[in-house]
Symmetry: C2
Subunit: 457 residues, 2 copies
């Protein structure tokens, strides 16, 4: 007796789930139908800035597995088909063919919701003018690239200085644009503490990117041709031949909300550790549309990141396919770069620690990526938070050049293991002059944190 699995969303989480389930159960046991409203499947949204910037030569490099490849694996993937309703009690979904407009109901025994996130597009005058672009989908990327060609001048404004914002600043620089990043907060990279964000700000200055803090955008101004010509903030107008929005994303959970499924404080679906939607035996959810447990704060958070989406998909696929797997949660690791500046963070910022009632100490150190005497040794700044009294590691932020970002993995594993900073000082990390100083920068920070924890009492 064959069951039917329906998957809503054809990107990382949905198609990983479908593929993993297919590996565990053949087509005679499990029919898999997947709906995707776009043209593409299983693509790397995180790669879009690098495609736009020209590091990745062609769009299709970002596609890990095309709809045809999925279909060849007995997954009935229907692109350009949007699910418009989930009937939970009736165990069926209503889908609309975006070409013909025709709607059909499809029943399911098991359902995976992987509807992703949508960019926050602040409801400002002019925000939909030609020349204003999001960079969430491959279609967005195509549109932006065309717009860069059409732009009359070489002035670009990026709204928002988060990951997408700074990555797009680099991409636009690569196209020869004069780039201004307008940021709501005082410093770029609000996922860092402001003191570390300031280092990013200074480095962006050095790269020729103008970063304007405390400047929420009020209005997008257009020219006679209707195309964007400037962006207005409280602090003034910034001329723009093209505008890129990096204003964050929110979970795309309209369908789930309408179906009465449980959502959290950030609007993301709430699941159990097996990625099953809470209270629903036969519905799973994963990727950018869910909230995840932050193992350090014990709170749910919304983190849109391809690596989590892929993990969710694997876990869902295993469970749907009759196996067993869980996603225990995240520690909040993220890495990024602007040109040769590397930015990384994991765990809690000061603000996060305060919010959950943790008392902490912080230390900040400067060290190098290699032995100081080895060519290419690059400076990096490491900030570390540790809990008072217990000395438990709470978070790490790193800003530096080559070799800085991925060092955050050391802290990510230590956070997962619940290590104290004193335990960390004994970590047996890879040492040789081309790879690290004799004390790895993360250990230098840990040593200083031990002293700070003791001093704070």
């Amino acid at each position: 007796m064959s069951e039917r699995l329906v998957v809503i969303g054809g990107d990382a989480a949905g198609m990983s789930a479908a593929s993993q389930a297919r590996r565990l159960k053949g087509p005679d046991e499990l029919e898999i139908v997947a709906f995707e409203r776009g043209h593409f499947s299983s693509y790397s949204a995180c790669g879009i800035p690098y495609w736009v910037g020209g590091d990745v030569p062609v769009r299709d490099k970002l596609i890990a597995r095309s709809p045809e490849e999925h279909r060849a694996r007995d997954i009935d993937l229907r692109t350009r088909t949007e699910v418009v309703e989930i009937d939970v009690a009736g165990q069926r979904v209503r889908a609309r063919d975006l070409e013909s407009g025709a709607e059909t109901w499809t029943g399911f025994d098991k359902l995976v919701i992987a509807t992703g996130a949508r960019p926050l597009r602040p409801p400002l005058p002019g925000i939909d003018a030609p020349g204003v672009h999001g960079v969430q989908t491959l279609d967005d990327g195509e549109a932006l690239l065309a717009s860069l060609d059409r732009a009359k001048g070489r002035r670009a404004v990026v709204v928002g200085a988060g990951y997408i914002g700074v990555e797009m600043a680099e991409a636009l620089l690569g196209h020869g644009f004069e780039v201004t990043v307008l940021n709501r907060g005082e410093q770029p990279m609000a996922t860092l503490d402001p003191d570390m964000g300031r280092l990013v700000h200074e480095a962006m200055d050095g790269l020729g990117i103008t970063t304007v803090g405390s400047s929420p955008v009020r209005k997008v101004l257009t020219g006679g041709d209707g195309r964007v010509r400037a962006v207005a903030t409280d602090s003034g107008e910034y001329p723009a031949d093209v505008v890129v929005l990096g204003t964050g994303v929110v979970p795309e959970t309209g369908l789930a909300r309408a179906a009465g499924l449980p959502l959290g404080a950030y609007g993301g679906l709430l699941t159990d550790l097996a990625m099953r939607v809470r209270g629903h035996e036969n519905i799973w959810a994963g990727g950018d549309c869910v909230e995840v447990l932050d193992l350090v704060s014990g709170r749910e958070r919304h983190i849109a990141l391809g690596t989590h989406a892929n993990k969710h998909g694997q876990v869902i696929g295993a469970n749907v396919g009759g196996g067993y797997a869980t996603f225990p949660g995240v520690v909040g690791t993220a890495v990024s770069k602007v040109c040769d500046l590397e930015i990384a963070r994991t765990g809690l910022r000061e603000k996060d620690a305060r919010e959950v009632g943790l008392r902490y100490v912080t230390v900040t150190i400067e060290s190098t990526s290699r032995a100081g005497y080895y060519p290419g040794a690059a400076l990096m700044t490491v900030k570390m938070l540790a809990e008072r009294r217990t000395g438990r590691l709470l978070g790490v932020q790193i800003v530096g050049r080559e070799g800085a970002a991925k060092r955050v993995d050391i802290a990510a594993v230590a956070l997962t293991a619940g290590m104290t900073v004193e335990q960390m000082t004994a970590l047996d990390l890879g040492y040789a002059p081309p790879f690290s100083p004799v004390w790895d920068p993360v250990l230098v920070a840990a040593r200083k944190a031990v002293t700070a924890v003791r001093a704070a009492g």
Copy 2:
């Protein structure tokens, strides 16, 4: 009432201990006398291959703190002075001034033994001929550099294909030598399993380094001028204008042995977790002259590595200075490179696991340092060992190009925390296309290991 601390050995462990003790106790509380038989203090022996190779322009770059700098911090460091006897019961050491030959006794309240390791110089005919060089000390490095200048031809033979051997092969290549590495074992890098060593072998071939396995050296042949002219093995003679020995080191514990201090199976001093010599209240030891606890196998091992020596020194200094610190042990992490080939390992090899009675599964995967579509994505091979039944991580070996080696830190922390490979699959590691594929190579290996553990039952 002032105490006297005597330190034997002026490099990483000894001088870290002295410096840390000095930070905790001023000269009126603690007198510190340190003996060093060489000219230098606190230098990076690990950096010697890069100085010889020319990456590090001048010798003094390798010196972290000169004797004068130590003396300015109220440490009475006596260079060119060799301790020739430890009188444990009498709490004194006998030291010989290597210039004058004069000997004096110095009493101690506390003693730190940091005598390091000495290179294994196999007792072969001709091994002491001009043109045959060790690379353990700065003096060795000077001598080798002079010898490279004097060499009549451009043929170099490196004996031993461990860390020093492969690093010296790179250095000699940099001087325009034709390099042959003669190795006792079948594959280079015996600290890896042979299947991973084979990858190093192939890469060295590609770099133009001839690596000859299963070729223990029998004799060093000299020319009419008494200088080395060839190296003889069972498989033939290898012409050599210069020979570099990379044949490993053993703990330099003659003094300790004569004093009746406890030594382990590898001839290294045995200490407790506070780095105190077992059974001796007022004697500490650290660095290359001690054995350390391998946390994965539960056995003592001898690992000569600057990063451990520095940690030992810190721990000893804290304890001597009236504080408290421990060195819990190692997991056996080591990284190295030959030109652009990166080599890393942590935990147990197959052979190590068998020796301690562990049953295991192994998996080997290929992945890339960055997202596959991102420029510069470099291939790497990751081998992982996990315990049968429990799935506990036992070891990781990585061979690849840029971005390969330091990924071993992820496994080093996971080993320290006792994680299973299944727990590792959920690790929240830094992901962005310039830094990692969506599944980090270490996680790809962990996923495959989970399957292997299940299959092995």
